[in-house]
């Protein structure tokens, strides 16, 4: 794989040479482990041999947790989704990094956490006030749409004639349904003056089991509700939540027929192969959309805030921040200092190169990533890259976190299951969300209600520090 050009924007130095130690790095297989391949020449210069252990995307938590519980010491650097930071840190599986970060010289050891955007620094990296992980992937959702269709004169005129208003990227979820229905066309019909050779759809969703809940939270979070109240009473079945899930269910009418089987890849491809007009996706997709090797819609995409709901006369937007990736040092590692340097090298030293290339799925997460649009060479121009970064910044401003406390996997699976049942027509939105509330209560009781309440209060503090709630 072709490594991106070294930019030397971030200044860093090699550490004193380690004695040829091996550092085992575990993470989800595929393009997000590419940085270790890009910078493979750096590690021997630090006296480190890197051994990569790839696990499937869905299997990261189970693999790491199993090894942690067994105390095998199989991993030195662990890459994981920050929803599990509470689980891993509170069970003592991770090494606190604060002392390592203070080591001198700065140019070798300091990952400059002050530059990391607050939601990622406070929620992804910290637990109980200590830093346990470093962000490498700052995921958030973004609206991505076909600007060539939205600016087409014939389409604009047709939309105005039909709905009596201008064709604009959707501002609210009601707009999302309306515009989605407008652009959904059959093979043989015209779209932007061209006769369609296959069916075309207004929108698509991540509706497969796994993360479909995140596309529901995009719609629900603008209501201002949190997952639980202060006593861990679920807030997930409020009238606003039911309305949000109904919107999600309704949107499938404007999506490809197999949308209930769409995960990240299928949703990305539906857009990049030119089958849909708009999607809400992770912020790495525009980079891939600008790459002719991957995209048939190069130069035709634009980006915006995830739609919201009109509340009190203004539109409130929320963008889910699902997945993301952090690197941490396992407390069972025999080479903690070397492991820390490897983690810091990926999370800080080479991070601009790693997030600006389309060869990874890693997304911007710190200030320096926003101030160098020239690094994003897949975009046609610096101005286009700067526009992309501006939209990402807006999306992060709307960011809404995952659950984060221990038990997150169970809470999110219950939510995902019933959201998916509603999408499949097995339950009505109200039935689905009532069932989620009931299951969340049962999970809380099983895990120990008082302990969960304490952990939730801790999470709320982090939300506040990150500025996500008041």
């Amino acid at each position: 794989m072709q490594a991106p050009r070294e930019l030397h924007v971030i200044k860093w130095d090699f550490p004193p040479k380690f004695g040829n130690v091996t550092v085992n790095v575990v993470g989800d297989a595929g393009h997000n482990l590419a940085p270790y391949e890009f910078w493979k020449d750096h590690f021997p210069k630090a006296g480190i041999t890197i051994k990569i252990i790839e696990v499937p995307f869905e299997g990261v938590y189970e693999k790491e947790k199993t090894e942690f519980v067994a105390g095998s010491g199989a991993f030195d650097v662990v890459t994981f989704y920050p929803a599990y930071v509470g689980d891993f840190a509170s069970n003592g599986y991770l090494e606190p990094l604060d002392e390592y970060m203070k080591k001198q010289p700065d140019s070798v050891w300091n990952p400059h956490q002050e530059d990391v955007l607050p939601p990622f620094r406070e929620l992804y990296n910290k637990w109980a006030g200590k830093t346990y992980a470093l962000t490498i992937d700052g995921d958030a959702h973004l609206l991505i749409y076909r600007k060539d269709l939205f600016t087409n004169a014939a389409e604009k005129a047709a939309f105005k004639a039909k709905y009596g208003k201008e064709l604009m990227p959707p501002e609210t979820w009601e707009d999302w349904l309306q515009i989605g229905a407008f652009f959904t066309r059959k093979k043989g019909e015209k779209l932007a003056g061209q006769t369609l050779e296959r069916d075309f759809y207004g929108s698509a969703e991540f509706a497969k089991r796994g993360f479909s809940f995140a596309w529901f939270v995009d719609r629900w979070a603008a209501s201002g509700d949190l997952y639980f109240d202060e006593n861990m009473k679920p807030q997930i079945n409020s009238p606003a939540a039911v309305k949000a899930l109904q919107n999600f269910v309704d949107s499938l009418k404007n999506a490809p027929p197999d949308v209930r089987g769409y995960g990240y890849d299928e949703l990305r491809d539906a857009l990049l192969k030119g089958s849909v007009a708009m999607v809400v996706q992770w912020t790495d997709v525009p980079k891939k959309g600008a790459n002719p090797a991957e995209s048939q819609v190069v130069g035709k995409l634009d980006y915006g805030r995830v739609p919201g709901w009109r509340i009190g006369g203004k539109v409130v937007h929320r963008a889910m921040m699902p997945v993301g990736r952090v690197v941490a040092v396992a407390s069972s590692s025999k080479n903690k200092l070397a492991a820390y340097w490897v983690a810091k090298h990926i999370a800080y030293d080479m991070s601009l190169e790693d997030v600006s290339t389309a060869f990874t799925g890693l997304d911007v997460n710190r200030g320096v990533h926003f101030s160098h649009p020239e690094a994003y060479v897949d975009f046609k121009s610096k101005a286009e890259a700067a526009a992309y970064l501006d939209r990402v910044k807006e999306a992060l401003g709307d960011g809404y976190p995952e659950i984060f406390i221990p038990g997150a996997a169970q809470y999110e699976d219950a939510l995902d299951l019933h959201v998916n049942k509603a999408l499949a027509g097995q339950e009505t939105p109200k039935q689905a969300l009532d069932a989620v509330a009931q299951e969340w209560n049962a999970i809380t009781d099983r895990l120990g209600r008082q302990k969960q309440i304490d952990l939730w209060h801790q999470a709320l503090m982090s939300y506040k520090v990150a500025g996500l709630i008041k």
Partner: protein, 314 residues
């Protein structure tokens, strides 16, 4: 100290030592096997049984707590997802294994008629069995894909575009059928092999006698071959029934249990409880329930097979 050399070593030993040696030798010979059996079968079984009455949530870091039969009560009375998974597994076991048996028998009868080509065709037929289920799942994920999958392409071509872009894995009405079809594709050759082996074991004289008595082909099949095949078919069905309770890889690859939970099998659900939620007590209870169900069904099958064999002997 007396040292024995040469013939003295083989000299007769006192009776008491011989008797003890006689008892010890077989024990020592069997001991390694017993230790291995205890370590890999009995210990995990007893450990799992103990866990069934514990609550052990690894996400919390709390130590295991004794909860009596609460895990079983949760499965039977409070967990609709358990019953849904059991129902899906039951459908796959009854309908899926039934189809595998019927198609497998048909293929075996055809193969039995083949001459020199039989081995070659059988080798080709067995390819799906040799493929890892996770790979078979991946293959069928591609085949079922609505946009570029060959299944929809062929249907589209053969129906002149009337059957277009069907979402096999996303439609809750057909998703379980798609999973079943993949399982049937992969394991029908196994049933073919089992039935073919049974067919080849039928004495030729019996078939000749039936022919001499004027039995037609269907009569020979129904009155002579099927009764003789029944014991092997029962074993084949039993093996496949037990395998269905382990059906995980195909579901993991094709649907992850979705849409909703229409394709969630008991093996997949047990995996989620064990390795996603790390609820070890409940997972053990689920595993034990499956063990009991399989054991009871296996006993029914084996008794039936014994009865059939006894009937044949008389």
């Amino acid at each position: 100290m007396e040292t024995k050399v040469g013939r003295d070593v083989l000299a007769p030993q006192p009776a008491r030592l011989v008797a003890r040696g006689f008892r010890l030798t077989p024990v020592l010979m069997v001991l390694p096997a017993v230790v291995v059996l205890l370590a890999i079968t009995v210990f995990p079984l007893v450990f799992t049984l103990r866990l069934t009455v514990m609550s052990w949530e690894l996400t919390t870091g709390f130590p295991p707590q004794f909860v009596r039969l609460q895990n079983f009560a949760r499965a039977f009375f409070q967990d609709p997802r358990f019953w849904n998974a059991m129902m899906n597994t039951g459908i796959l076991a009854v309908v899926g294994v039934g189809l595998q048996t019927l198609i497998g028998m048909g293929l075996a009868l055809e193969l039995h008629q083949l001459g020199r080509l039989r081995t070659f065709v059988l080798s080709l037929l067995l390819i799906p069995v040799m493929i890892a289920p996770v790979i078979a799942g991946f293959q069928f994920r591609m085949i079922y894909n609505d946009q570029f999958g060959p299944l929809n392409y062929l249907l589209d071509r053969f129906t002149g575009g009337r059957f277009h872009g069907y979402a096999w894995l996303a439609d809750p009405r057909v998703a379980l059928g798609a999973v079943m079809f993949t399982d049937v594709w992969q394991w029908t050759p196994f049933m073919t092999l089992v039935v073919l082996a049974g067919l080849q074991a039928i004495p030729a004289e019996l078939l000749e006698a039936a022919e001499v008595d004027g039995a037609t082909g269907p009569q020979t099949l129904r009155r002579v071959m099927l009764p003789l095949l029944l014991p092997v078919i029962v074993i084949g069905v039993l093996v496949r029934f037990m395998d269905t309770f382990k059906l995980f890889d195909i579901v993991y690859q094709l649907t992850a249990g979705g849409p909703g939970n229409v394709t969630e099998t008991i093996a997949y659900y047990t995996y989620l409880e064990g390795f996603k939620f790390f609820s070890l007590g409940y997972t053990s209870a689920l595993a034990f329930i499956q063990l009991v169900v399989i054991t009871v069904v296996a006993q029914v099958f084996l008794r039936y097979q014994k009865r059939v064999r006894a009937g044949m002997a008389t």
